[in-house]
């Protein structure tokens, strides 16, 4: 661990929403840190709590039916205890956010220029002319051609990629220390996605802000993130520096993600290995390890014991919440990577975890697929 003070330190964050159907445990004890000028990738599927944890940092989940616990320390201040005024000073200023769908995040009735200028005036005591100059400067920085004319246009006159550039320009107007990007490229075509990712990396280098990028795409985080947190059912199940995570993934869910996606950089294989079942309901959560109903390597005690995110003996920067023994996990991933059949890997899990009935449990997970 570096001695550097993290810019954002999240400790045991819990966010619950009360609904008519029951309590939704959207985030259930997440802890992570973002260092200044670095990029954290949060990976997960829909409903894993990855967006909610970031929205909470900006106070966007506060409400009558929300319970928020834990700490989110930004430069030493707990964002969760800030009042609305103080939070407004942070939001759009020190911490900014870009969203997946830029068309619904921009106001359709106002010109792009008006929306950008408002962003500057809300946080800085400058003249309108200065604010306009700043807006123009940012549009140039994000690579929008003909920015003077573009300032007077409405969002619908922009293409998807250009709109996302406007969002980025807006987020960077006040030189934030932290930019949260929630699925910033999911709605975009692959060539435009590459442009936007390159732009984010370039701007980070020039402006030095930290980035939290939330995505379901392991490829995207591999490109851009320094550290990765994998979320499942409201919890972080694995956390590691990017290269370490891809070189030695530890959690069966991470394995599942890596092996269920066809990829361009490996020889074409005949079979994908899907993760059986589907993500659990956050109202009626599985007991014990939340991943156990879908885990091919589940042991009887995993249904009762709740795994904690703990560092690996070999590398404290790599943390995982899994009840399998570290030694066994290494052997299992090695076997998976070399294409061993699931049954064989299950045997490894059973032999190493002193439990019985691994085969039977695995069959159950498979039947659910």
């Amino acid at each position: 661990m570096s001695t550097e003070q993290p810019l954002l330190q999240v400790e045991d964050l819990r966010v619950r929403f009360s609904t008519d159907d029951g309590v939704v445990h959207a985030v259930d004890g997440a802890s992570y840190a973002v260092n200044p000028g670095k990029t954290l990738g949060i990976v997960g599927e829909s409903g894993s709590g990855k967006s909610v944890s970031s929205l909470t940092a900006l106070g966007l989940t506060r409400g009558r039916h929300t319970t928020i616990e834990g700490q989110m320390l930004f430069e030493g201040r707990d964002l969760l205890t800030l009042d609305d005024d103080a939070l407004r000073g942070v939001r759009g200023n020190d911490i900014t956010m870009i969203f997946q769908d830029p068309l619904s995040a921009l106001h359709p009735f106002y010109t792009v220029g008006a929306q950008l200028i408002e962003g500057v005036l809300a946080h800085q005591k400058v003249s309108k002319q200065d604010a306009r100059d700043r807006a123009l400067e940012m549009l140039k920085q994000v690579g929008i051609p003909d920015p003077v004319r573009r300032l007077t246009q409405y969002p619908h006159e922009f293409s998807g990629g250009m709109r996302q550039r406007v969002m980025i320009a807006m987020a960077l107007l006040n030189e934030p220390k932290l930019l949260i990007a929630d699925e910033p490229t999911t709605a975009l075509d692959v060539t435009v996605q590459a442009q936007i990712l390159a732009l984010l990396a370039d701007l980070q280098e020039r402006l030095g802000m930290a980035i939290v990028i939330i995505t379901h795409d392991l490829g995207v985080v591999a490109e851009i993130a320094d550290d990765i947190a994998v979320m499942y059912a409201g919890r972080i199940v694995e956390r590691a520096p990017t290269r370490e995570l891809f070189a030695r993934p530890q959690h069966p869910y991470t394995w599942g993600l890596l092996q269920s996606i066809p990829r361009l950089d490996t020889p074409r294989s005949d079979d994908l290995r899907p993760i059986p079942g589907r993500p659990p309901s956050l109202i009626h959560r599985p007991s014990g390890c939340h991943f156990h109903p879908r885990c091919p390597y589940v042991q009887p005690k995993h249904r009762e014991v709740d795994p904690k995110l703990a560092p690996l003996p070999a590398d404290a920067r790599h943390q995982v919440a899994c009840l399998l023994e570290p030694r066994v996990r290494i052997a299992m991933w090695h076997a998976l990577e070399t294409g061993a059949p699931i049954a064989e890997v299950q045997r490894l899990a059973t032999s190493g975890a002193n439990g019985q009935g691994g085969g039977e449990v695995g069959a159950e997970a498979e039947a659910e697929a």
């Binding site: 829909s46 390159a198 290269r243 891809f246 599942g256 890596l258 269920s260 294989s269 994908l272």
Partner: protein, 348 residues
Amino acid sequence: MSATREPMIQVRELTKHFPITSGILLQHQVGAVKAVDGVSFDVFKGETLGIVGESGCGKSTTARLLVRLLEPTSGEVLFDGRDVARLSREPLKALRRDVQMVFQDPYSSLNPRRRVGTIIGEPFVIHGLCPDREERKRKVQDLMDRVGLNPEHYNRYPHEFSGGQRQRIGVARAIALEPKVLIADEPVSALDVSIQAQVLNLLQRLQREMGLTLIFIAHDLSVVRHMCDRVAVMYLGKVVELAPGDELYSRPRHPYTGALLSAVPVPDPPAEGEHRERFLLSGDVPSPANPPSACRFHTRCPKAQQRCSEEEPPLERKSGSGEEALTACHFPLTPDEAAARLPPALTR
């Protein structure tokens, strides 16, 4: 996959222009969106043909033209030697028994007020097959079992299923009449990553079991590589490259294919000090209402020269290409240029 080289569908100079009109009372056409503009290819029996491209390239329009959900502006779609575009009502209905579609959005493509059993059994009703209710129920339950749904859920409504299960419902409906051809238009792009593989594996299994010819349309190049024997790359209403998948993904010739491959993020972080060079395209895709002259890619192509804006390149075999690889480009990528665009792990 061994495809017998017998064409199932032959597409010849297929064109679809959507008119742009002006005026309220006296409407007149002021232009046309050239969604599909002179596309020709064959689909062979038993193979999987992939169509890739970015939004607006005409891939979905092509799919809809193949089953005549849209009327082509010109050109032919020959199915078993007969032109789909000229079929009258009855033979067209018969054709649709043989060619079925799976749609992208499993939420909007299922009627929310019908029970799943009714949805999957509907093709039998439409085609007047199997009028006996009990038998139909049995058949539908067989289908549900076949696509991995619990047959006991026959009486449930679509909203009671997850996205992946809904897509299975769509697949069950599509294979109900044992079609010869299945057209899947972005079948997994609305699904969560951990669910995608389930549906892809299902499609592959059904194809094997039923000897289906599969036309697989997607924007995700990795998924298309996994699924397809041959791949057509579309850009602004044109096929710019058509080649066996193995060749296309290891030796792209069209600069646009190269740009697509170069843009795909791979879950393999670069090693310390390593840097993957990107061949980023500048700007956006031009409007299909007013596409660039001659080669449509010339406005964004790193290799474009004078000739590219004057003379349209034909889709043809290039020197050094395999038997079946076609490229529409005057200045195709050299081997070095192609290699530089592939993920580093493939060339390392």
